[in-house]
Symmetry: C2
Subunit: 502 residues, 2 copies
Amino acid sequence: MSKQWNELAERMAELKDLSSVIGLLSWDQETVMPAKAGSSRAEQTATIQTILHERLSHPRLGELLESLAGDASLTAAQKASVRNLTFERNRATKLPVGLVRELAETQSRSVEAWRSARASKKFSEFAPFVSKLIQIRQQQADLWGHAGERYDALLQGYEPGMSTARLEPLFANLRQKLVPLVKAIAHAEKRPDAGFVKKNAWGTDKQWKFTMHLLESMGFDLEAGRQDRSAHPFSSGANVWDVRLTNRFDEADPFSSFFSALHEGGHGLYEQGFDPALHRTYATGAPSMGLHESQSRLWENLVGRSLPFWRAFSPKLREHFGRELEGVSAEQVHGAVNVVQPSLIRVEADEVTYNLHILLRFELELALIRGDLAPKDLPGAWNERMKSYLGVVPPHDGVGVLQDIHWSWGEFGYFPTYTLGNLYSVCWMEAAEKSLPKLWTEIERGNLIPLRDWLRDNVHRNGYIEPAEPLVQRVTGAQLSEEPFLRYLWKKFGPIYGVHAA
Amino acid sequence: MSKQWNELAERMAELKDLSSVIGLLSWDQETVMPAKAGSSRAEQTATIQTILHERLSHPRLGELLESLAGDASLTAAQKASVRNLTFERNRATKLPVGLVRELAETQSRSVEAWRSARASKKFSEFAPFVSKLIQIRQQQADLWGHAGERYDALLQGYEPGMSTARLEPLFANLRQKLVPLVKAIAHAEKRPDAGFVKKNAWGTDKQWKFTMHLLESMGFDLEAGRQDRSAHPFSSGANVWDVRLTNRFDEADPFSSFFSALHEGGHGLYEQGFDPALHRTYATGAPSMGLHESQSRLWENLVGRSLPFWRAFSPKLREHFGRELEGVSAEQVHGAVNVVQPSLIRVEADEVTYNLHILLRFELELALIRGDLAPKDLPGAWNERMKSYLGVVPPHDGVGVLQDIHWSWGEFGYFPTYTLGNLYSVCWMEAAEKSLPKLWTEIERGNLIPLRDWLRDNVHRNGYIEPAEPLVQRVTGAQLSEEPFLRYLWKKFGPIYGVHAA
């Protein structure tokens, strides 16, 4: 180990500790913090963030990274740390402090404006904030640098290595091929019956226990993580020994908590699965948001909405929720959790229509950043696309263009990672199936551990040594494409709805 | 406001944020942190502590404090901030980094050695660690500075302004006057009957609810604080809007959780009661550990073990724990929570014998720091004093000299603050009684708010503007003395045991 590497390692350790403390403060805020502590928490978080930024901008760190950048004696993990930290440092230092502060202030005022506009169902109140945020984000993109496409610079904050030029045709193909499936299902005569959900009692304490059972079954280590309650489910990880998931429980909608447990549990397994040897370096963590999402979607959808899964877990459902479920078969549960229905709200969308919600957002935010769409014209463009892609039109902006919080944070470039997560998830699953011939037999027996272990070895341990796409390609042999995902959808929903590809 | 003051205020805000983050990390560790996260938590905490120390040692902070030290234009609160931060900065900067690290490492190894020695009941295994800790603490005391009495320098870390010269005669008087009361009670024929405790069922969920009821009754703001479970009850406060108490629940020993709630609730009310205008300055917080303890002891003992309190709360006990308590009177509960019995373990001791446990520890740790007692002779000295003060002798060191964790942390000088807390608590209560003639009538009606409000106005709001003793003297008119406390004990325990002062 060179002296310079050791000095870098010390600085990385401090930076990673500061990041993990920010994560813990945020977890605390969303789960246990007393109501009146909000503004003092903002101060504490800002203080740690300022110190983190100060350390990240330190000239000595820049020197170390530069001199280690070409060092061939470094291991792959060390090289990855140098590469990833250089990327993060560049992003942080290229922005003048004034612009960072302007964005932070605009964000906070925009979130308030968004909440109020959503409540009053009027996009016009929010439009000036979108204009301002777009303007700041365009400036940021120019400062970070790009080859003519500002959206690239934003996108790469969430999905390093990805470009608009690749996303546009990919998403256009996906959209074109999704529409026939949505239409076929809309006209299908066969439809699953979810009636038993409404007939049964789904106490929230029982839901808590069942979700804990699900997390244990997935192999989520409850000595290195926990589940708590929060207003919106999320997952966060300080390091592999401290991964925190949250969930919410609704008496009338038990499957919401079950699938949130599988979804956040998928994120959580990823966080617990990084190679512990990478601790306190910049080679740990996920290479991209899309890759992180591929883990949550895999567990939520590919496993959790499969028939073999419910063959194992519908008896468990009866154990937890009682005899009223005695007559309900695995097939019935499987049908109930796979109802396809074009609808207004993204977070409630099914697997088939979900990506259309994303594609719509991608197209609109790309047009905004390019300057091809004026913020005031957003609602019209939104409603038009909803009608064309999904056949539904929002009765007002509150359940239309104002439904997501993301844009109020200026998060343009984030939405595509959801769809990339879906596409990647199928690549992983196809590779796992090839590698583990008994995978589905084991799942049908309730044994989810072989899958977890395969993901751990092939995806999780890597952390951020290899970037997202090269990793997917090396492990699965697949190029990024809409095909595997569409193959999966037709194979699954064909039998449920009695429909066939044309 | 001067420019210099503003610069100091900015630096204070950052320092206070860092301290509160350390407090939150510690709370998290004791309550919710996954078991495997211990060593990564130690790293995170050490990183924040190092940054705090770096900021505290910054030369610019020293310059600001020096130039503001004589500034007559500052308000009383501002002067207090300058005074208190100067004290803390001096303590931090006078120690070389090597010694700080040596203490931290010795502490960590000593705690392990102490746990193991306690389990094997052999002090001899722990003795070398005590020697090492004493040696380091003596060095620290010399670096901090003192006028010939090293113990003063240690003591003042917990109780600024206090001296060994004042404690020694005070504690000797207290001991001399306690022994006759202990003897009188030991020979009393009248004894309270606590039989109902064992006969009843005390579910831990019901205990949880009852302790929450107690905290609400005290006026503890549950929107600016919370109660959780932990192995040992404690309280911690990030600021007045975020105060966290913990408790533990034992099916067989319900009063333990009730009195812990009152005790930690007393600390918690203090933390919630600082003037919010002092937020992020060094004029907030308690002036001493003894003063903090005066608040917990007041609520636990002076209120919680009084007859008027149980006249109000024994009906509530029946509401929470059911009909088996129907025949149990307030007088019976009052008797049961006031059983006096010399015993081996400090934390289980009653109000009468408790301070004898402290005086013994004070005498021994003072002799250790002075070099008048060799660590290897501690068990003999301990057992001798137990016999002489309390009439009981530990059957082995595990329930004798090894019972407390404090010395394994090198915390010499801390124990006296417990007794100071008891002495101060009675001063506050006598002053409150004078000022609120209906105080006990209100308590008997279950209304604890007038007492909370009196404490808030007279003790809590002050924070650390006025130091401990001047504050007590100004508000209560009392000089530090054992008399009020002994007066209180005789007045209370005389009737319970049918004994009278000679």
